[in-house]
Symmetry: C2
């Protein structure tokens, strides 16, 4: 299988980076191909501009968007790894979706409604957040976070969400708890792919 | 009352701009003060960088962040106007929250948990989206969108959400329907403030 991992964290020493390394290692061990797009690392431009929309309408997709679309087109599975900030994605990843998942590439309006142009691909999301998991579960935030990513982005374009792990209390977690999270990441990658 | 309106749409001819004009006009008619921060207009930088975090930890908030924080500090009410893209905010607005609602300005960790540092302010959100309202209501997305903005951003920092209007099917709406939306915006502004 060919994997694309889209990773968004500003700090290379972060726990999210350990999640990334664990996922990459587990996938490669299974013999899968892995491409990582580190959005901070490539200094991805996240603001969808009127010029982008005009260029795409004229059939001339801007180069940086086309590059990312080619990685998506070649992937059998797409994994997003990011910290939950303000109950959403870091802006650099939100802007990746705003710009790269464009009309005509990720979806289109067909005769029978939305044409989901990324069908056949699998989607995985790995998140950390500061709030305890119990609180997010209790107030419906865990469900809200899944709706605004798995449903609103992946399913809208035909990507099948195979798992979405949300790890709470990460900034205050001890070493054993963090190790357990990485074990869960490894187990999930091994199970769903 | 002093109002801050944070507006995020790339196109000055958009219906979101008409929503903005309607809100500004209604507030000024009531004799309120209004400041508009047009994030595309000021080319706001949305990516929270390690340098930002380091500078803020050292007590030296970057100039562009400090400017926006001063507008927030002076406001009695904060209104966000934006189109729902991919069941979230446009990246430029998400990054405004990521960078401007910083630790020590919008919230802090106190002895009894989170200190909500923006208490006493009111919050209003005005959104457009393409999907019909009935579908978003039915699948829980309307609730998910409120959780990931009113709850996750405004309430987390102590801002009291006074209303959140989500208008569906906007791209396909006729002139009468759009006029009715602007009427609802005007009525809401007149009622909640």
């Amino acid at each position: 299988m060919k994997h694309l991992i889209v990773y968004a964290h500003p700090n290379p020493d972060s726990f999210n980076h350990a999640v990334l390394e664990t996922a990459v290692h587990a996938l490669k061990k299974k013999g899968h191909e892995v491409v990582v797009r580190d959005l901070y690392g490539i200094d991805f431009e996240p603001v969808l501009k009127p010029e982008d929309t005009a260029a795409m309408k004229a059939g001339q997709t801007p180069g940086d968007i086309r590059t990312e679309q080619e990685y998506i087109a070649q992937a059998d599975a797409i994994t997003f790894i990011y910290p939950i900030w303000w109950t959403g994605m870091p802006a650099i990843l939100k802007g990746y979706v705003d710009r790269v998942f464009s009309y005509g590439f990720a979806y289109a309006y067909g005769e029978a409604g939305i044409d989901k142009l990324l069908q056949g691909k699998k989607g995985l999301i790995l998140n950390t957040h500061g709030t305890p998991k119990e609180i997010y579960d209790q107030i419906g935030m865990t469900e809200g976070l899944k709706l605004t990513s798995d449903t609103g982005i992946f399913e809208f374009t035909g990507i099948e969400p195979v798992a979405h792990l949300l790890f709470g209390s990460v900034p205050s977690a001890g070493e054993a708890a963090l190790k357990e999270i990485l074990k869960q990441v490894e187990d999930t990658v091994n199970t769903v792919f």
